[in-house]
Symmetry: C2
Subunit: 281 residues, 2 copies
């Protein structure tokens, strides 16, 4: 009888970050695996990053490193805007950006408008540390098309945060000038738009294109950078447009207890390596 060493069952999630690069995370459990009306939704548990939500093959959020991304998405604008009261989050159905937005006492109403109800449901079922803020009395969670919502709300918001999936399929329009023009119309005079604009190594054309298109609409546009381990290359960018204010300037206190963001990090995030400055022209 042949004696073979005992082998373990292994499960791995492989994210195709580009056609030629993959990130693999060991899986201990598959918690949800469904096709929603809009996308494939997967929730797994992993030893490395805790619970992970994946949409159409792309990692959206992990319990362990989500703070790096959500703190930057919220506080770069909310600590620079002089008095943010009404905030709109486009996408962001996991609730992480909403949680950070609502840490600002100035905020009276925060709208989370995500097209996919199932993302919101999965966040409530598996990511309580992210979705907790959805029950805040200042939160308005609307499962609908953000484009429609923006058209109906002119000059209404202080800050619009575009917390979208990658620029493919139904989310592609969220990285283009016509959408930015709609956001511009929905913003008050001191308004800020913040967009996640991908990695300069895995998607240089997206970074450059988004900044170019933001500039067509907003008089002031800057790019900030931040670490985000589970997003492709770990090197993430945030495009910010305003109607005149400099987003690199800090005007309000940071919420207490942040783990990634600080006023010092705010200012440092706008310092770009020379190659990235060249990339956005």
């Amino acid at each position: 009888m042949e004696v073979r060493p005992k082998r373990l069952n292994e499960m791995w999630l492989f994210e195709e970050q580009t056609h030629n690069m993959k990130l693999g995370l060991r899986i201990t459990q598959v918690l949800r695996n469904i096709k929603t009306q809009y996308q494939d939704l997967l929730v797994v548990d992993t030893p490395e990053y805790g619970k992970v939500m994946v949409l159409d093959g792309a990692i959206q959020v992990t319990e362990r490193d989500e703070f790096c991304y959500h703190e930057m998405m919220a506080h770069l604008a909310l600590c620079s805007h002089p008095n943010p009261e009404r905030v709109l989050i486009v996408g962001g159905g996991d609730g992480g950006t909403l949680r950070e937005v609502l840490r600002h006492d100035s905020v009276k109403e925060a709208f989370l408008v995500d097209i996919d109800q199932e993302v919101i449901r999965a966040a409530r079922d598996f990511f309580p540390t992210l979705s907790c803020a959805m029950d805040d009395p200042r939160a308005r969670v609307l499962p609908m098309d953000a484009l429609k919502f923006i058209e109906d709300n002119r000059e209404s918001f202080d800050v619009v945060i575009v917390d979208s999936t990658d620029p493919v399929e139904f989310a592609a329009g969220l990285f283009e000038a016509p959408f930015y023009a709609n956001v511009h119309r929905s913003l008050k005079e001191d308004g800020f738009i913040v967009c996640q604009t991908e990695s300069p190594f895995s998607d240089p054309h997206v970074v450059a294109g988004a900044i170019q298109d933001l500039r067509k609409v907003f008089p002031v546009v800057k790019l900030a950078v931040g670490f985000m381990p589970t997003y492709p290359t770990g090197f993430w960018t945030y495009g910010i447009g305003t109607k005149g204010l400099d987003p690199a300037e800090v005007r309000r206190p940071a919420p207490e207890g942040t783990r990634y963001y600080s006023h010092e990090i705010h200012r440092a995030a706008f310092v770009l390596p020379p190659f990235l400055k060249s990339m956005i022209g």
Copy 2:
């Protein structure tokens, strides 16, 4: 007869970044695959990052993103030291750090001491854009044990750069206090040590331990951060110790034509997110 869609031959390099996380890069060609006296050495060509050198399963260098790492390893110390003339690189057999060091006109002699002659050979054979500096008349390339070399060179160097592999096997000692004490003895009065100290997400104990051990030996110790896409999590740290000078202060011009480093980046690199400040205590 069964008709099946044509399938392509695929080759992938999978780097086990931790026990529970992998980075995969598509391979077009295997250029070298040998066991040296010290480690497994692999050189592959990839569509995503160009040529890649792998030692004992860990990616050391890729043509496309090496500048992010090598510019930081060299210029953080060389732009802060008032007059760096003699520089020692421990490890770094690919030549990338040496290339950046020799961009400083003040440098009269730069020693590259790598224990593995085969790494130097592979760099010369496949990475001409890194190994080019080995032929500079100021370069001294020595395939030998750096520990021995340091013992024989007291109060000799302005800057020592520890460009080592991960802290396992023969490189483990390079992250500990006795080694740092040897480096301290080999440094002149204004001396700097720079060490790559891994990622706070994939190896938090290494970051914290290296800083703790540097502090046992050097009166001034600071941590800097930088993006490095193909290293685990893309979030890299650089531990710097001096005999008194503040390494966050810039004292000399940056070389022209850098792509990652600038004086602004230098200052911003020492701004740490709150969670990382806590980690190093």
